[in-house]
Symmetry: D3
Subunit: 144 residues, 6 copies
Amino acid sequence: MVDVGQKPETDRMARAEAFVEMDPSTLQLICDRKIAKGDVFEIARLAGIMATKRTPELIPLCHALGLDSAHVDFEVLEPNRIRIESAVTVHARTGVEMEALTAVSVAGLTIYDMCKSVDRGMSITNLRLLEKQGGKSGHFLREE
Amino acid sequence: MVDVGQKPETDRMARAEAFVEMDPSTLQLICDRKIAKGDVFEIARLAGIMATKRTPELIPLCHALGLDSAHVDFEVLEPNRIRIESAVTVHARTGVEMEALTAVSVAGLTIYDMCKSVDRGMSITNLRLLEKQGGKSGHFLREE
Amino acid sequence: MVDVGQKPETDRMARAEAFVEMDPSTLQLICDRKIAKGDVFEIARLAGIMATKRTPELIPLCHALGLDSAHVDFEVLEPNRIRIESAVTVHARTGVEMEALTAVSVAGLTIYDMCKSVDRGMSITNLRLLEKQGGKSGHFLREE
Amino acid sequence: MVDVGQKPETDRMARAEAFVEMDPSTLQLICDRKIAKGDVFEIARLAGIMATKRTPELIPLCHALGLDSAHVDFEVLEPNRIRIESAVTVHARTGVEMEALTAVSVAGLTIYDMCKSVDRGMSITNLRLLEKQGGKSGHFLREE
Amino acid sequence: MVDVGQKPETDRMARAEAFVEMDPSTLQLICDRKIAKGDVFEIARLAGIMATKRTPELIPLCHALGLDSAHVDFEVLEPNRIRIESAVTVHARTGVEMEALTAVSVAGLTIYDMCKSVDRGMSITNLRLLEKQGGKSGHFLREE
Amino acid sequence: MVDVGQKPETDRMARAEAFVEMDPSTLQLICDRKIAKGDVFEIARLAGIMATKRTPELIPLCHALGLDSAHVDFEVLEPNRIRIESAVTVHARTGVEMEALTAVSVAGLTIYDMCKSVDRGMSITNLRLLEKQGGKSGHFLREE
């Protein structure tokens, strides 16, 4: 685990996104709250937020940080996709890109888990960093 | 967490895949073992395998299972992609699709973490189930 | 951790309950889905279910079991109480009383966490086992 | 997880309590150190302290904090109750009410676990916050 | 994680030991229950037992098993050593050597933690497997 | 968990070591990368680093700290020993001796796990603190 001890504590932020592709009928079931296991968006949102707190356990060389905030949101992209976006902030010596990426990843996996009995062919795609701020490497904003 | 108590214990298997897209120069650094943080394939493989054991903590409604085996492998797809494939087996009342998907997800995130200082634009894509066997829903094999 | 190796694997079930007492205005906010942090019932339900999987980490001498099912439900008792009930099943050599009790405990604590900014005086009370089945000690049913 | 990044780091403290009600003969066994699983007070104390470190994993929207101290103590209330009190301190941007409440909750559950073979009817009651200090909402002291 | 799916479930047992060497005055403080942090034997015993349940999280390629029993005991070897012995049993497809070794290791580290303010020079030594039973490789008994 | 709230945050460092003794033929297999489970040094190094992040979960009265760095290295001591050395740093109110000791302990256990099928008689020995800096108790350097 690389030494971040000489870096100053600064405000840091990271945003990430991912897309879950599915059968249009599956998206309809989700939006109609007809998935038997429960409210897909609410449970996936919670799973994503909780995963930000587990990130250093999952990613071997990732530093443990006490996060200031974590958010996960969803956008329905008719007819067959859900876009997940996360935002994480911290006041620390290193960044939170991995926490933001882990959040959208686990939120996407949770959507899969809740819908897999009706659609095993779902896929998660374009999981990537959208933006990061703070730290020596400065501002990163993904160009579309 | 749905009741699986009436299901018989059977041999179950799941395989999943994901692709990490990056700059060709990043892939070169990985293959040349020149990433400063360590051997990317070895560390990502281990992170993926260990993640199979944490899956029920991450995915809220996923059952805890004592896995029989877990494997994660990598394929370099010149000039700019790595393909990750996982395989998980268990003798249990429910399947291991989520464990296989979590393995490729965390392996991909670990690749990102190890290379992010040289390539913040990397993305994980086409994360999906390849095959599952065992259980009432039978055999699933993804058609290409 | 006492030896359960000589006990037979049998079907086991446990149910527990707890009550959260609060200001009537707090209960109104919960039922109207006006608590700023999110849907209290949905999040507390999930927290309770997930806690069943962490029980052996929390309770020092508790055996780790692969649960077959876990459920947490809520009942609004006007004007100022919520009743939480959990049910857990397993096919194992020892029982799931602690998992059922941990579920209602963590669900109750989560309700507190989500509402504490408006009502710090909330309390959890009458947290207890309602029923257990299976195992040498037989059937336990709480008498009211 | 709400944003605490703009709050100042201040000294914070929280105290909580809970009561375990049992058969008088059970309390006698505990006080005589005759419970077969071990010293109930010592083990429950440790379980409660360790639970303060797991609180953000259990309570979905709770921030992870590096605690400065955690204490759990017991008071025997003849003929049939044990009172548990916890105290937790931190220098942080948000409070430790949930850590203090989780400590008494897990300590109480551990007492139940250690004595359940002799007294399944035990209950945990009046689990509540006694006091908190620090932070914008100021001092809270429970009135009896 | 190697495939154990074809192995039969059998009764398995493992015992391990380790020695903690310290200043004779430290051993005296422990035996007199004068270490400020608490009862060293009781807390180290509990830490060792709980560590058996975390072993698959710590040892990357170790299978998760639902243990049947775990015990940790101590022997005072005047004038300057404590001997720790663990015993773990399971009915499973693979053995519990790592659980037994992890138990004595974490029990030893906990002794160090509790006494380090008076004796930083303590060391853990001769941490090793004493015996294993069950499985294809048969009986192993360490020869002195 | 003792109160560290009044201590100042200072730079702290700890180094620890342990030795794994084995059959000379086992050491040869490790150095020749012929152990079937994978690269022993790479996997044990990662396990040791990851264990520094789990230390407060394992050691009951240990404070949770956000580490600045963690390193684990190996030295082959022909004909039959591997020396493990860890170094951990933090900017905090309390030290990281336990993290450094846990790192060498878990790295040693992982070496055992990977080689146990060929050499069950391996032992871990002389696990001890080499140095600590920072904090009121000042500099500790082990004398040989």
